[in-house]
Amino acid sequence: MAIEYKPAIHFKHVDYSIGNLTILKDITGSFPAGKITTLVGPSGAGKTTLLKLCNGLLSPDSGDIYINGTSIQQYEPVELRRTVGIALQSAPMIDGSVYDNLALPLALKNEKLDESWAFSLLEDVGLGKELLKRNVKDLSGGQRQKVSIARTLVNRPEILLLDEITSSLDRTSLKEIEELIVKINQKYKTAIVWITHNLQQALEIGDFTWVMMEGEVVETGESELLEDPHNEKVQVFVKGEVG
């Protein structure tokens, strides 16, 4: 699939394990630049680990990862993490207000977040301006996930990694976030890699899909592959998820 697209992220025989436990096994392939790729598969398939490798929170045991054609080892960790943004699944917050959290990426560079920018970030993710001063302890799970996405966008990453960011959203919020992500992708040509358990979402939003199982990539292609997968394991998985 990646032959005709320039890769934003390319994996070359990547392995990763914790002690004797293999998490990722011989991952090779690309996430195309300017496209939305969804990662689907059962829990424990290694999807989150794969994203953390791309953001530099983890390093592969062997093999290499290329970001926009440059080996990940050539990047300074701070530069890499600002180029490849990640919204973590648990949407962790620092203590303080919504503003404190939105301002965090800039505060780490000793810069300040304008209030007008903060308001527009809230608007982008479908949150009201009145939330800006609210303590994050008083946010719902869905609101936290939205703040987490907005915060990741502050660094204006070239590549955006999303780890199950809509898992605790209601249907309306889910649609708002899907529209936002598509808008970001289309407006800034940001490459997006999105882990989701929602196969319908993967079909509708993703240009491409990777199906991962037990640390391996078992099938890749345009997202329509989910409608008629070739791999038997994927067929069983898709039936189970849909059923």
Partner: protein, 249 residues
Amino acid sequence: MTYLTLSITLIFVVIPLILSKTLNLGLEKDTIIATLRSIVQLLAVGFILKFVFDSESLLYIFLMVTLMIAAATHNAQKKGAAIKGITWKIAVTLVFVEVLTQSILLGFKITPPTAQYIISISGMVIGNSMVLSILFLNRFTSEVEAHQDQTELILSLGGTPKQAIHKQLIQSIKASMIPTIESQKTVGLVQLPGMMSGQIIAGADPIQAVQFQLLIMFLLLTTAAVTSVLLGFLSYPTLFNQRMQFLKN
């Protein structure tokens, strides 16, 4: 005090033994071991100190202080087993605190350069520094554990390890210093410090005893601050690797 009088003080050991036996607390064996150990250890130290004080040898003073630092390091390092290289980090901290405090005391001629002063004050400084190290390591380990998500978040947004661990570090430094500061607020009101009481019982002028106690208390403030800050800044980098990745567990 004669040895006969001292032996009568064992009444204070018999009382808890009777209580333990009567109430089935099961502490008789520990109480007896603790009593025997305190007698043997303190008498041994007493004889060693008498020998060192009489000799006035710098070598013996150095050996005595080194022994104190080694024992304190051994005791404190158990609490920081999760931190790589914690033994030498504690040793460096204790040595630094000892050198700093003695340099000020001797440099400004606050205390005379005799074994009597150097060893006694070193014992208080090193002992306090050891307790502070244990308090700091206990708190720091639990703060790091409890805020793993926030540490990873800050790293993921392009923060440095120092930025990622800053809050946990500051909280731990503050928490370990608070007992020293709080105990100084109530000193003289709630309790008379052991050293001052000892001097007064031994017949010293109470005002002079207070002056020495003040010196020790101010000294312990510096000890508390320097120990926790230095140990903190030596410890946190080992939680990360060169790629600025958080090394969980």
